[in-house]
């Protein structure tokens, strides 16, 4: 689905992402974990075109997307949510979703139902709780035609009930054939939903494998806690 090859990004003399290489397979949930400052969000920003890489290449289903403008990358099939939910706050939930794609009311209701959104679609975005904003942002990313769904810390700041719902939502999406790449700090969440886990530290991929393999890798513990 997506292939990242020897990606580099530095800010001044500091490498935020360095020689980063990995692939994400179709119809899988792949999680990127790593301590704060490991370069996870920078990597997401490079893939989405928000930042331009200093080296390396990114391919989406064989098409090179390195350095393309964000809107073009989005049109090529990448949907993304952000660490802080980015809704259009002066618009209703429905209008937020309509920006992603022209859709009928029933389509909108369906996608909102699929993310367990509990309120009316005409509710104003600024009136939602943080957890509800997260759900609407995921619904909006889902409604936009995509090949790859990227979620940046989807459980950050949400209560345990919404967290459990998110788990179910992601399982459902995988069943429906979606490919998901996510950044997450909640290890229980990551280990229970991921097919593949990529561990990053100091801008590079430390290791990758199934949740069990990663949990058994001493280097991962060292990356988080130090030697």
């Amino acid at each position: 689905m997506i292939s990242v090859q020897k990606l580099d990004k530095h800010f001044g003399g500091v490498y935020a992402v360095h020689n980063c290489t990995f692939t994400v397979k179709e119809n899988t949930i792949t999680s990127i974990i790593g301590p704060n400052g490991a370069g996870k969000t920078t990597l997401f920003n490079l893939i989405c075109g928000i930042s331009k890489p200093d080296g390396g290449k990114i391919f989406l289903r064989g098409t090179e997307i390195t350095g393309l403008p964000t809107h073009q990358i989005a049109r090529l099939g990448i949907s993304r949510t952000f660490q802080q939910a980015k809704l259009f706050r002066n618009m209703s939930v429905k209008d937020n979703l309509l920006i992603a794609k022209t859709a009928s009311d029933s389509e909108i209701k369906e996608v909102l139902k699929s993310v367990h959104f509990p309120l009316d679609m005409n509710t104003k975005a600024s009136e939602l709780s943080y957890g509800q904003m997260r759900l609407v942002e995921i619904a909006r990313a889902l409604l936009k035609p995509h090949k790859l769904l990227m979620l940046d810390e989807p459980t950050a700041g949400v209560n345990p009930k919404v967290r459990q719902e998110l788990k179910e939502i992601l399982f459902d999406l995988k069943k429906k054939g979606h490919t998901i790449l996510l950044i997450e700090h909640d290890m229980e969440f990551v280990m229970s939903i991921s097919d593949d886990v990529i561990v990053m530290t100091q801008g590079a991929v430390l290791t990758r494998g199934t949740p069990k393999q990663v949990q058994a890798d001493k280097r991962v513990l060292e990356a988080y806690l130090g030697k």
């Binding site: 964000t70 618009m91 209008d95 022209t102």
Partner: protein, 285 residues
Amino acid sequence: MAFINYLIHLAILIGIYSILTVSLNLAVGFTGLLNMGHVGFFGIGAYTSALLSLAGFPIWLSILCGGLLAMISGLLLALPTTRLKGDYLALATLGFTFIMGSVARNWTDVTRGALGIPGIPKIVKGNPEFLVIVLIIAAITYFVFWKISKSRFGKTCEAIRDDELAAKMLGKDTFKHKIAALGISAFFAGIGGALFAHYITFIDPSIFGIGDLILLFSMLIVGGLASVKGSAIGTIILFLLPEPLRFIGFPSSILGPMREIIFALILLLILIYRPKGFFGRVDLA
């Protein structure tokens, strides 16, 4: 009769300024571009139409050219400035207005500098007939911007205002949308300027003054951002509210400052008690 003429004069100015306010709202209220160049586009429309009509061009063609040149200026201004945000965009576009004023003052071969351009032909002889024309154009402007506000383009502009990065991530070319918003907005400002020139029949560089810019923003804020109806009503309110002062008998040296005080007071009260204006959908914060 004099009173009716006065009312017609007032209605004509309200019509022209509502064209300006409604069009400014597309850039500021809907797209979130703090555009201080609107008075510059207004002046460009006025000067272009005045000069062309005096050179023998048909008046309607001159007015259209005024709008088009203002639009081209808007597009050119948008190319470098829409990459700026907030205060920086405001400063850059304000600079554009000042530059246009400076050009009007110093390009004396064409604009006659501070002497201004007198004898601009009227579109029609009588003011009542001109009022009808202004109201028709104002109604068309209102309709165009109302349609835009309901369109996919308008909704995307609103999305850009609320969160540009999120809009980009949904596949929206925000740069093109911002340029288009500023271009459309400038076209109607140019038309407004042209109508103003053919009504007053005299223009000088003071048309690029900051006073009008403050007045326009006051109308916008009072009526409410991102509301086409609000822009029109804000214009009516701010034009009519200080008018009774004329009949109290204050000397003109007091009348002018009092109008400014009233505008400032209204703005202050609106900002404190109704931060969204009367019909706005967007918080000024």
